[in-house]
């Protein structure tokens, strides 16, 4: 990534004014924290936080053949999603590897939007565009939208929004700003993602902050998602790792045809050689991505859990070591540190 060509969201000046520490992330200059990762993390678990996720990619997939096309390239069964629905799904390659994980939103017959990781915006767009059939059009609309994630148990109340089921969306208005309100997120808490016109996102941010949402950076976003074991593409899942080993079989409809389904069916039948597990450190230490796990494993995500006040992580280990309570030894810069496998998620509401 060239440091000289970092992109900025329309909220850059607001982040800096709020005291954010800005860091390069996926080609963007983004806030990693404002007041601190731990207080921001706790604000989301206890009340309400807001994240600028305008760097994420929004791709429209429209046309009479759009649904059939998406069914062929995405792992989950899009047939289960009605108008106003949303679904977590994977863009898979022929080997069953994960090109990206994303949420697909259905507006109407033949009208879909997929929200992809910032780091995979080009790859996901290119993947879809190359396979686009007659009667479907894939369009990268990322530059047209701003996106905020408002997350936490009090987020709907603070925004004055009615309760809606998770994985639904609707057009609405927030303090006079037209927004798409989606009941989705990446923190394990109740919350919404608000998508609006790019030139309205600054006013939307101001409105959300005025309603009491605490500005939160990428640091808290990472610790929040890790506590609830949501995978991060590029760390825990990649084009080289498959959904079955990653424990994402639930997002793969193996009874339909899609790219890589044969490989995934075979993997499921034979059982994967290794699995992505969650673990908690039993000694004082913070596991980090890339650290070896004794016996042929590797940490793919690791951090300090603000809720448990312990080192936590996820990593691939041989299947024989993947059952909960199995003892692991993580090589923390040359020092062996004890950990044990836990059932996902690592953190559950009311358990700390």
């Amino acid at each position: 990534m060239e440091a000289t060509s970092l992109q900025r969201t329309p909220l850059f000046a607001r982040h800096v004014a709020a005291g954010a520490r800005m860091v390069p992330f996926a080609g963007w200059e983004m806030p990693v924290q404002y007041q601190g990762v731990i207080p921001e993390h706790r604000a989301v678990r206890a009340d309400c936080g807001v994240f600028d996720v305008s760097h994420m990619g929004e791709l429209h997939v429209d046309g009479p053949t759009a649904e059939a096309f998406l069914q062929e390239v995405l792992s989950n069964d899009l047939g289960k999603v009605g108008d106003g629905g949303a679904q977590y799904t994977l863009l898979t390659n022929e080997r069953g590897g994960i090109v990206d994980d994303l949420i697909v939103y259905r507006f109407a017959h033949g009208q879909f939007m997929v929200v992809v990781n910032a780091s995979n915006r080009e790859a996901a767009y290119a993947w879809l565009k190359e396979r686009e059939p007659r009667g479907s059009e894939v369009r990268d609309a990322s530059d047209e939208y701003g996106l905020l994630a408002v997350q936490g148990p009090r987020s709907l109340e603070r925004l004055g929004l009615d309760e809606q089921p998770a994985f639904t969306h609707a057009m609405g208005e927030l303090d006079g700003i037209e927004v798409m309100v989606a009941r989705t997120g990446y923190t394990g808490e109740k919350g919404v993602e608000l998508c609006c016109a790019e030139d309205a996102v600054a006013a939307l941010w101001d409105a959300v902050v005025a309603r009491g949402a605490v500005p939160c950076g990428l640091g808290a976003r990472d610790t929040l998602r890790l506590e609830v074991c949501y995978p991060l593409h590029g760390n825990d899942i990649t084009p080289e790792t498959d959904a079955v080993s990653a424990g994402l079989g639930w997002a793969c409809a193996l009874d339909k045809e899609f790219t890589g389904v044969e490989a995934l069916r075979r993997m499921k039948e034979e059982g994967p050689a290794r699995r992505l597990v969650a673990f908690v450190m039993d000694e004082k230490a913070v596991p980090r991505q890339g650290m070896p796990i004794e016996g042929g494993g590797e940490v793919t995500s690791g951090s300090h859990s603000p809720m448990l006040d312990q080192g936590i992580g996820m990593g691939y280990v041989p299947t024989a070591s993947a059952t909960p309570d199995t003892e692991l030894v993580v090589d923390v810069r040359g020092k062996p540190k004890r950990a044990h496998v836990v059932k996902k998620p690592i953190y559950r509401k009311g358990e700390s």
């Binding site: 601190g36 990762v37 004082k284 300090h304 810069r333 020092k335």
Partner: protein, 131 residues
Amino acid sequence: MPATESYPDDLRYHAEHDWARIEGDEATLGITWFAQDALGELVHFEPPEIGSAVEQGAPCGEVESVKAVSDVVAPLSGEVLEVNQKAVDEPETVNEDPYGEGWLIRIRLSDPAQADALMDVAAYKAHVAEQ
């Protein structure tokens, strides 16, 4: 609560943002306000072993925040006499009071003349201003 920026004038400073409070042939060591602020809330201090030798300019432990890990660089050479257990048990103490309760280790100096190579507070403040 994190401390506000300060650099006491009775300390000697190393360019890697570590401080030493020299008392006779012993010294107490820690990281500066600048260092803890750059790291953010500390969640782990991995101390050296008591009795081990530390060398001026070489790592003598690690401090770790949610996002990053950093070596603690020894401003002076010596033998580790004591480790601050409070910094091990409650690493946030280092953020709250980097020059007091949040000290890291105490050493017996093997070469007290090394102190001449450290910065005084004016030089260190100038160094911080350049960061």
